[in-house]
Every structure is written in structure tokens, then in C-alpha cells.
Symmetry: C2
């Protein structure tokens, strides 16, 4: 086996993340004033997908333990029947790791550094790494699908990838 490839960490932007889903942040282009002007509604930043006759969209909280860096990415997962969104509620930077599909398996991972005010929605069937929290245990609001059928597919890489030590401003 060759040495593990080191992955580049990029800032999370709507444009860069668009092949995988949407970024959940107060995008000014989506803003509508509601409640008699009291409230700014940043509208439809993500749309939940839930396939299957009995499928439901549910709201959960995920409490993720921090990952140790350098971190070795050995696997990815995806959800064939639904989207999954993650929004931080502790205002700490975190990592979003996704991959394009290459004939039924994930390609080389893309690593995005999200701020503590940026969430993401993985579209249905988008390969992603399980929650990657940095520094401290952190909570996320998660919107995903509940229903029948096996909604989890995992893939283990032949060759791992490395995310080196992170420099965050948190």
C-alpha cells in the first residue's frame, strides 16, 4: 500500500459545495421580512429529501466528540433514501468531508472548513464522512429521513487519506 495522500482543507462556500448540496447560512439573496418586519426569514436554505411511502422528515440533535488530528479518513457513507443536514449550535468551526461518486464508490475526498455559523445539507446519495467535530464536543441540529429500508451505505477505501493538524481561529 502506498503512503496515505494528504487532503487539502478549503473554506466552505456555496459555490464550492454546490455539487454536494447547499450551505445553510443567512444568504442575503434569500431574505424576506416577515412578522410585521420583526423577523428576517432566510428562506429555503435546504430542502429535505425523504423517499418511500412511509418516509418522514425528522429533527435530531447530534453530539459529536472531537476528532484527533492528523485524522485518517478510511471510509465514507451515504444515504440512498434521503438528504441529511447538519447545523452547528455551538459556534465552533468543523469539517465537512464529501466525495463525488465514481461508479458507485466515493472518489478522493474534498475537505471543507465550515465556520461555527455554517451548516450544510448533503443531498440524497452524496458520499460524506461521519460528523467531524474539531476541538470540543459540539452539538448539531440534524434534519434527515426516518422510514423503512436500509438508508446507510458505507465504503472503505483501499488507501486512506490524511487531514493534517488544523489551524482554526476558534
Amino acid at each position: 500500500m502506498n503512503a496515505a495522500a494528504v487532503l487539502t482543507v478549503r473554506p466552505l462556500t456555496r459555490e464550492a459545495f454546490s455539487p454536494f448540496g447547499t450551505v445553510i447560512e443567512p444568504d442575503p439573496s434569500t431574505m424576506r421580512l416577515i412578522n410585521g418586519g420583526n423577523t428576517e426569514r432566510y428562506h429555503a436554505l435546504a430542502e429535505a429529501e425523504a423517499a418511500g411511502d412511509d418516509a418522514r422528515v425528522i429533527v435530531n440533535i447530534f453530539r459529536g466528540s472531537p476528532r484527533a488530528f492528523p485524522y485518517t479518513v478510511t471510509m465514507m457513507e451515504r444515504h440512498p433514501f434521503g438528504s441529511q443536514s447538519f447545523s452547528p449550535i455551538d459556534d465552533r468551526p468543523w469539517l465537512v468531508v464529501v466525495a463525488e461518486d465514481e461508479g458507485g464508490r466515493p472518489g478522493v475526498p474534498w475537505v471543507f472548513l465550515a465556520s461555527g455559523r455554517q451548516g450544510v445539507n448533503y443531498r440524497r446519495n452524496v458520499w460524506h464522512h461521519p460528523l467531524m467535530t474539531v476541538g470540543e464536543t459540539s452539538d448539531f441540529l440534524v434534519v434527515d429521513r426516518s422510514g423503512e429500508g436500509n438508508n446507510l451505505e458505507e465504503f472503505f477505501y483501499d488507501q486512506p487519506f490524511i487531514i493534517e493538524k488544523l489551524e482554526t481561529s476558534a
Copy 2:
């Protein structure tokens, strides 16, 4: 018109809120370990309702300006086609104001003081006051319905209700 009635502010608990919907907080009874033990999943704290063939469940951010107290409650609203959840992401206490339906109009409001770590999901057709933020402008993650049809019903009380000055620990 009589003098406005003063409303009692109660702590938000799952039990007290159960006629109106669910509280979105890390309820230990819902916890499952996932991601190889890295993550605690507090499962299905709320379920989105979205009626109509074309209806979708969307994720939004609401940025609410703080209300001034004493606050006069003059109206309530409800959404006949879908649920609506609010989860604070700024860790500031806020108020949840709901009412039981009495023959197509809201009864006397119930006022709950939620912590900055407590969200709620209003079930479809539950009367509630628009977002009531306390102290500072605050952001909330909101999960609700998008689709055809008029999903907003408003009711204006003949006699207003008062929420007096709040004492919060924030």
C-alpha cells in the same frame, strides 16, 4: 374593553408543552450511539408535517429582533398545512407563546420561557405567536413546509394580553 390580562410565564418542559408539540433538546431517552461511538444521536426529537401533493420540508434561518417588554399579545397565527420548528443557535433564552384551539380561534395564551438550548416544534395547526426573541437579535433554525395553498391563518384577540418584564439569567 377590560384591562389586559397578565400572562404567567412558565418554564418550558416536555410535559407542559406536549399539547402543542415537542421540545427539541437532548432528551437522554432518545439517545443512540452512532458513528462507531463518536456521536450521540438524540433521535427524532421532532417530526415535520407537510400536507399537500407538492409540499416540501425546508430548512430556513429566522433572525428575530428582540421584543420590548411589557409585551402586548394582540394576535396569534397557525399553519394549517404544516408543522414549524424553531431551534435557537445563539444560546439566549426566548419565549414560546401558544394557545389551545377553541372552536377555530385561539384560547388564552400559554407563555413558556425556553432556554437558549431548547427548541420547539409546533404541530400543524397549533396557534402560536410569531417569534419572540428576548434581549438581542437572535438566529433560529426553522424547519417548516413549502408548497401551494394559504398556509397562514391569523387571529386578532378582542382583548389583548400582557407579558410583563422578564427576568432571565442571560
